[in-house]
């Protein structure tokens, strides 16, 4: 087994790609008008650009306005190599692909520090900066030299059908790559990042790695498209290949057809490119810029009426009421329900699982935690309590790596976690759940949990097995196929617990898992938590409900204003005057008094 998961899905895609290729080829042979032949060459190139954009932005959710950078570099590389060294396009398109990949990686490394708006804006600047550089270098117009003597070597065919065939092959390759990737761990990881990057990191996904992989492959595809575009048009100008419209078109075709789908970008290009070309040919004299207006109107209409693209809209119309759920890499065929998979063999080395020493973190003037030290023994169930704002969740964020401490150290199984990213900590055996659940809403319960299981295995079968064991343990096995968005609060919390369990942790950080649950649900949850503990997993739990906590934990830590107020057995804590003063309040004391 390899990382490329669900073969049946990929096989089905390949069949569709093959049929599509055949139909297009037949069409290419039938059409004889040279103008239509040119359009039939251009359309696949733009579909490839749409797929390239989709591979990065559609799957990861980071919007790129800069795909013209990769396209333009590819185009100029082919044109300049042909002018300067007389290299043939068969070689230079491969070089353009590599250049696109390299540019993707180079752009990605600094730019992935940014998210959301900032990422989109930064991407905008790359192609436009390059545009001016190429103008300054004096490449306002680079024409490929003619080589009528060797049409095959230099891709300068008399018969335009050959161009269509090459364009089609490029498109089929791009489709194939997209299909394989989207059905693999790659697609699942990017979807998780798109839906909730923090949760993805906490579930062990190295988000930077997957985003870099995406932009590198995406850049490579765009570079190839640009290279071939230069061959077809024979002239390259900065505006035509680095211009805003190039990036915009890539985005428009993908958005129009359907974001995050295999065929969406193709559909977008196949509708919009011919439409705008034909209208342009007919009305350009009276209405210059009609192409831009069509693209503009097309995406405005899509955003207003089918915000996720035509393809998703069509699917929703065919099956009304279906929730938009994204692809899956897991298969239920791989199920073997065995709790043993999740058992943590005891170390018996007497060392603490977790040691926290002098941990401090301030937000501006607010000292969220100050000089906090404690340790957690193997198999312990440690409760953390404290009034609102005592720094409990901050502590978890420091422990799992969302926040960097100002000072202090966290030692997990004898190893310092200084500067380790959340996904590394998850891989090292520290999992967590969130105070406000962070489900991947568009994914099924099973896929949500499988994401956690990919930390320790590349095999889909093994990941599915771990996930199913975790889902059974928490008792969600009747909801496997339900989208996470349809779950109740309790089910969401159980699913998060299962996702944490699937990563085979030795320690789970549980953040207010009982919040908002009714008494019965609370009892059910306590049963599940005890079950988790029996596996040998150490648990640290933040909770407000004293009643529930006293039943559950071995030991308490009480935080107040970021500092350790008290530490001890449940018995000693509920009688500790300082704790009563700071947290439990007088009422508790009175109730206790009344009980006795």
């Amino acid at each position: 087994m390899n990382a490329f998961g669900n073969l049946s899905g990929v096989k089905r895609d390949f069949l569709h790609i093959g049929i599509f290729g055949l139909v297009y080829l037949v069409l290419a042979l039938v059409v004889s008008n040279s103008y239509y032949q040119l359009i039939m060459t251009i359309v696949p190139i733009w579909a490839v650009m749409g797929l390239s954009w989709n591979l990065l932005s559609g799957y990861s959710g980071l919007i790129s306005f800069g795909h013209a950078a990769f396209f333009g570099l590819g185009a100029y590389l082919v044109a300049l190599c042909s002018v300067v060294w007389d290299l043939n396009p068969w070689i230079t398109i491969v070089l353009a692909t590599l250049a696109g990949a390299g540019a993707g990686l180079l752009v990605g490394i600094p730019t992935f520090r940014l998210r959301g708006h900032y990422f989109a804006l930064a991407m905008l600047a790359y192609p436009l900066a390059l545009l001016y550089v190429f103008e300054w270098l004096g490449y306002q117009e680079v024409a490929l030299p003619m080589h009528r003597e060797a049409p095959l070597t230099y891709m300068q065919f008399e018969n335009p059908v050959y161009y269509i065939v090459i364009a089609l092959v490029l498109l089929m390759l791009a489709l194939g790559i997209t299909s394989v990737l989207s059905h693999s761990r790659f697609g699942m990881s990017l979807l998780a990042i798109k839906l909730d990057e923090d949760a993805a990191e906490a579930a062990g996904i190295n988000s930077l790695y997957w985003k870099l992989a995406a932009i590198t492959i995406s850049g490579a595809i765009a570079g190839a498209a640009g290279g071939f575009y230069a061959v077809v048009l024979l002239v390259v100008t900065p505006l035509a290949v680095f211009g805003m419209l190039v990036s915009a078109q890539a985005l428009i075709f993908a958005m129009f057809g359907g974001v995050g789908t295999l065929w969406g970008p193709v559909l977008g290009a196949f509708i919009l490119v011919p439409l705008s070309e034909i209208l342009y040919a007919r009305y350009a004299a009276d209405f210059p810029g009609i192409q831009g207006v069509i693209y503009g109107v097309a995406i405005i209409a899509v955003i207003l009426f089918a915000p996720e693209g035509v393809l998703w809209k069509l699917r929703a119309m065919r099956k009304p009421g279906t929730f938009r759920m994204l692809g899956s890499t897991a298969s239920k065929a791989d199920f073997g329900v065995s709790e043993e998979l999740l058992v943590v063999p005891p170390m018996h080395d007497g060392k603490p699982v977790l040691e926290v020493a002098g941990l401090a973190k301030a937000f501006g003037g607010l000292q969220a935690t100050s000089d906090l030290s404690f340790s957690v023994r193997e198999g312990e169930l440690l409760g953390i309590i404290g009034p609102n704002g005592a720094g409990k969740t901050t502590l978890f964020n420091l422990l799992n790596g969302f926040l960097r401490p100002d000072s202090g150290d966290i030692v997990f199984h004898g190893q310092s976690l200084q500067r380790q990213r959340p996904n590394r900590r998850c891989a090292a055996g520290m999992a967590r759940t969130f105070q406000v659940p962070k489900p991947f809403t568009h994914l099924s319960v099973l896929d949500n949990v499988v994401i956690g299981a990919y930390v320790h295995t590349r095999s889909k079968v093994e990941a599915s097995r771990h996930a199913s064991a975790a889902i059974h343990l928490v008792g969600l096995h009747d909801h496997l196929d339900l989208p996470a968005a349809n779950l109740t609060n309790k089910e969401l919390r159980l699913m998060e617990l299962a996702r944490a369990l699937a990563s085979k942790p030795t320690l789970i950080l549980v953040d207010e898992i009982l919040a908002g649950l009714d008494p019965q649900a609370m009892q059910d949850m306590l049963v599940v938590l005890r079950r988790v503990r029996r596996l040998g997993i150490t648990i640290i739990i933040i909770e407000h409900s004293m009643q529930a906590m006293v039943q559950l934990v071995n030991r308490f830590i009480v935080l107040d204003h970021g500092a350790l107020l008290a530490e001890g057995s449940p018995d000693s804590i509920v009688r500790n005057p300082a704790v009563i003063e700071a947290y439990l309040g007088r009422q508790w004391r009175q109730e206790e008094a009344g009980d006795e």
Partner: protein, 319 residues
Amino acid sequence: MDALQTLENVLQSLVAGLLIGSMYGLMCVGLTIIFGVMRVINFAQGEFMMLGMYFTYFCFAWLGAEVYFDGLWFPFVLAVLAGPAVFLLGLILHKALINAVTGRRASRLEAQGHYAQLVLTLGIALVLQNGGLFLFGSNPVSVSNELSYSAWEWGPMVGDRVSVFVNQAQTISAIIALVVVLGFGLIMVKTRLGKSLRAAADNPDAATYMGIDVDRAHRIAFGFGIGITAIGGGLLASNVSFQPYIGTEYVIIMYAGVVLGGLGSIRGAFLGGLSIGILQQVSAIVLPNQLQGTVIFVCFLAVILFRPQGFFGRRDRTA
């Protein structure tokens, strides 16, 4: 001699940068209002600037000829009038299009509607740009009168060797830009409208519970935002020649200024735009003309990568 020549060049560039930068600053303020209140990256901002330019141009051409306004101040009045005109357009556009993907509706969309907003405004930009090509033609035009070619001489200084020329049209434009920015700042701080805009920006849900019509606040913010940028465009029209595609070039200048100042901060946006103007003019001393754009992009990238919260504003929560 050489040193003095350099001094003169630097002083000249600084002055020109300051004046042009004020206009950039004004345009940046328009952009940042939209981001600050609506959390929307408006891609079409450059096109609204372009509309401000053509508004000034056509009113100048028609009214100037028909009614015979030939006062030297006339283009500047028209530039300011471009504000209300584009403001009205903004109200309509917001109601018809933008509102569908912003505000409280956005939270239901994928990625808080970022996709939808960016793409919708990109669509509007494409339509305006290319529709402009149809309506206005592709020939570069400009709104110039004697003031565009007149300058006050500052100096001579340093023993009659150094003189700085201060362009009159640019000076008037810069002063108007400053007045508009200050006026808008007063509206935001002093008036009930300003308070409701700031409240809607801070927390749309809470503002709704306090009885503020957030949709209306957004509509007004959008109108203000593009209207103010259109005034900037109108003022710039006296100094540069333009065609319908000019927006793309300037939207980057605006974003560079806004990011430099810290997204969402009005004061920061103005100072950011000012800095970009100065940077652009001063870089022209040492760099070839074509690379001026690249300098701005590189500076923009450097800021966004290493100091995304900007230099002049408060730290933005989305950073």
